[in-house]
């Protein structure tokens, strides 16, 4: 692929806060026209990365190119070509929906005529018309987030950075939001979105997983699931907590985690009978044990667990 096909390209991108490294030599490429899901536990550096890519934070090291513009050398054209929704709701609560959009339209220097048309268009696309003249403060969160998206996409930027746009939003509004994102992507926009919800991650074209400021995995949802190391079993056992403890104690178990009212246990080899035997000899009743294909959540949980264990190991070895 040629450089023009990457909408985001970073190399060794790093940000430190008083010695603490929030983003550590991140090298990342996001293809144009896709929905890129940026995953990772709290504090893993997702927002910090986005804020650097939007020109809000100065990188301590490394470089990044967004939509063809070096974020440090060409901040002005960069700003014109991106839309940003911060993790915190940040429109004017004391303006109406329409006034907020008019304001941002003016800030992006849209002519009054085309701006009015564009606002109507956004009203239709984001289904905002009904509350167009209401104060933003009075809207439910799902609506507010759509208004924020509207303000971010008003000037039709080719790149959208959305930092947890659906956090705290109810499932119906969430679905509506993602339908809108899909239609924007179909329209050619590149969307860089963070989320903690695996259903949403599943809808992305490409995922990147952050941990401790590092990108620890990258790929399509299918590829990430495929790359899941070992064999995953659904274990319905009682008592559940004791089963979890027992599974974790077994030396041949790679990972065990609670999943709803059952366990998901990962083995390096396909040997479910050994697992059943060992669990039962630990005094646990196994009602059901079957191999399943991993969900994104399994992938995510395991990636993080492996890292955490590695970090603990390194710490233990250091002592």
């Amino acid at each position: 692929m040629s450089a023009a096909e990457w909408v985001v390209e970073t190399e060794g991108l790093t940000r430190r806060f008083d010695g603490f490294v929030a983003v550590d030599h991140l090298t990342l490429r996001v293809p144009r026209g896709s929905i890129f899901g940026f995953l990772g536990p709290n504090g893993s550096g997702k927002s910090t990365t986005i804020r650097m890519l939007c020109g809000l934070l100065k990188p301590s090291e490394g470089r990044a190119v967004v939509n063809g513009f070096d974020i440090e050398r060409h901040p002005e054209p960069l700003r014109q070509s991106l839309g940003y929704m911060s993790q915190r709701f940040s429109l004017y609560p004391d303006l109406t929906v329409r006034e907020n959009l008019e304001f941002y339209g003016g800030v992006y220097d849209l002519e009054p005529g085309p701006l009015a048309e564009r606002i109507e268009q956004v009203f239709d696309q984001l289904r905002l018309r009904e509350h167009g003249n209401d104060l933003t403060a009075a809207l439910p969160l799902g609506w507010k987030q759509r208004v924020a998206l509207g303000a971010a996409m008003l000037h039709q930027p080719p790149v959208l950075f959305l930092d947890e746009p659906t956090s705290g939003v109810d499932p119906a509004s969430r679905r509506m939001f993602w339908e809108i994102l899909d239609s924007l992507a179909v329209g050619g926009a590149s969307i860089f979105v963070t989320t903690h919800v695996m259903d949403e991650a599943e809808r992305c074209d490409l995922l990147g997983v952050m941990y401790g400021g590092h990108l620890i995995a990258q790929g399509t949802p299918a590829a990430l699931k495929e790359a899941f190391p070992g064999f995953l079993y659904h274990v319905d056992a009682a008592p559940l907590l004791e089963a979890l403890e027992a599974a974790r104690r077994l030396p041949f178990v790679a990972d065990a985690a609670m999943f709803g009212d059952a366990l998901h246990v990962t083995l390096p080899a396909d040997d479910p009978e050994r697992l059943r035997r060992e669990l039962e000899s630990a005094g646990v009743t196994v009602r059901d044990l079957r191999r399943i294909s991993p969900t994104l959540e399994d992938v995510f949980v395991q990636l993080i667990a492996l890292r955490e264990r590695a970090a603990e190991g390194a710490e233990g070895g250091g002592r």
Binding site: L56, R79, Y92
Partner: protein, 381 residues
């Protein structure tokens, strides 16, 4: 520069202001409270100061001096029949008198010889404000008396003009010549203008900028192509407009309600107000640069307001301040605007007399305003 971006900010600010009933009320109430406060409650007019007099020289001249003092209506004469010099201290000690006057023997004789007789004034210095003011009233009365005596003497003894001329020349102009009634209302109400515009510029502006930082809208604006100066100029334009409207309102109230004389040029007053607003808005911008939260902005504002007002000459004459403080006032915009306002209201001055103050206000204003804009960082870190 981009006009549409600037106008978008101005329009947005006006829309927000229109809905911000609390701030609008504050804009209306603050001047009313200040005017009432300085118009009625706080008065540096002197009234009912208890005065004891010991006259050891029962001459008509001494009698007339006391009459002149009584005529100021600032003093209540305590009963002093057959008082002796030994009474002076006890009067002050017991509080029977706040000020005591001792006219020594030979007062009239000294006058007749062309000497300046010494009249001792004792005052209860524990209330130094009253003492200082009372002393000013006394010296004013003494000057009035001296000029009358002089004219009187010359009328009666035209041939002796040369001899009398040896009496130390007194300045016939009262010290408060531009405020002849010594009405503190006249002196303070115009000062309220300087106070209100400072509060508006420094406090309101910094709050409005910092509020955007708290709301996160500043971060949102930072990803747009808007420049920091467009944002800040756009935010301060409506403030400046509000400031000018308030200037007119306060001027009308001062003139119509408090009967403060308005002798000078109103257009010049507005020009000076605009220049002064440049200063106070600049101070507000600088405060917002260093404040993360509205609370911090408020605290910083009050820290700065105190010296800006105390050293402006609003309540205490600059000439009475210690030397270092007098030097400090040279860089205080409040001082120059106070001079302009009092000059226009009370002395009937305009650009012809007050242009130096206007020039200093312009220079300080440009420095503060530009300083505020240039030190404002659009990036969040």
């Amino acid at each position: 520069m981009n006009r549409r971006r600037l106008l978008s900010i101005v329009l947005k600010e006006l829309r927000q202001l229109r809905r911000d009933k609390r701030t609008l009320r504050l804009f209306l109430i603050a001047p009313v409270i200040q005017l009432t406060f300085f118009g009625y409650a706080i008065s540096t007019d002197l009234k009912g100061v208890k005065l004891g007099v010991v006259i050891e020289d029962p001459s008509p001249e001494a009698r007339r001096l006391v009459d002149a003092i009584v005529a100021t209506r600032a003093f209540d004469l305590i009963p002093t029949a057959s008082a002796r010099p030994d009474d002076l201290r006890p009067w002050l000690d017991t509080g029977a008198a706040q000020i005591a006057l001792h006219i020594p023997p030979g007062f009239a004789r000294a006058l007749a010889r062309g000497q300046a007789p010494v009249v001792q004034v004792l005052s209860d210095g524990s209330d130094s404000n009253t003492a200082t003011l009372a002393f000013q009233y006394l010296s004013g009365a003494a000057r009035v008396w001296a000029s009358r005596e002089r004219q009187d003497y010359l009328r009666r003894h035209p041939s002796q003009a040369v001899r009398f001329a040896r009496v130390p020349q007194v300045n016939l102009e009262p010290r408060f010549w531009y405020n002849p009634d010594l009405k503190s209302v006249d002196f303070q109400i115009p000062g309220v203008l300087a106070l209100i515009l400072l509060a508006l510029g420094a406090s309101q502006t910094s709050l409005m900028v910092v509020r955007e930082r708290e709301l996160g809208t500043l971060e949102q604006l930072s990803v747009t192509p808007i420049h920091a100066w467009e944002l800040l100029v756009g935010k301060t334009i409506p403030m400046a407009g509000a400031g000018l409207v308030m200037t007119l309102l306060i001027t009308v109230v001062a003139y119509v309600w408090f009967h403060v004389p308005l002798r000078g040029s109103i257009p010049f007053l507005l020009i000076a107000a605009t220049l002064y607003l440049l200063n106070t808005l600049g101070i507000g911008l600088l405060i917002s640069v260093i404040s993360r939260t509205q609370l911090q902005a408020q605290i910083t504002t009050s820290f700065l307001m105190t010296p800006l007002i105390m050293l402006s000459g609003f309540l205490f004459p600059i000439a009475n301040m210690p030397q270092w403080a007098q030097w400090l006032t040279v860089i205080l915009p409040t001082r120059y605007y106070m001079e302009v306002v009092r000059g226009v209201f009370l002395k009937g001055q305009g650009a012809a007399e007050l242009w130096p103050q206007a020039v200093v206000l312009a220079i300080l204003g440009v420095l503060l305003y530009l300083g505020g804009i240039l030190s404002f960082r659009k990036r969040v870190d």
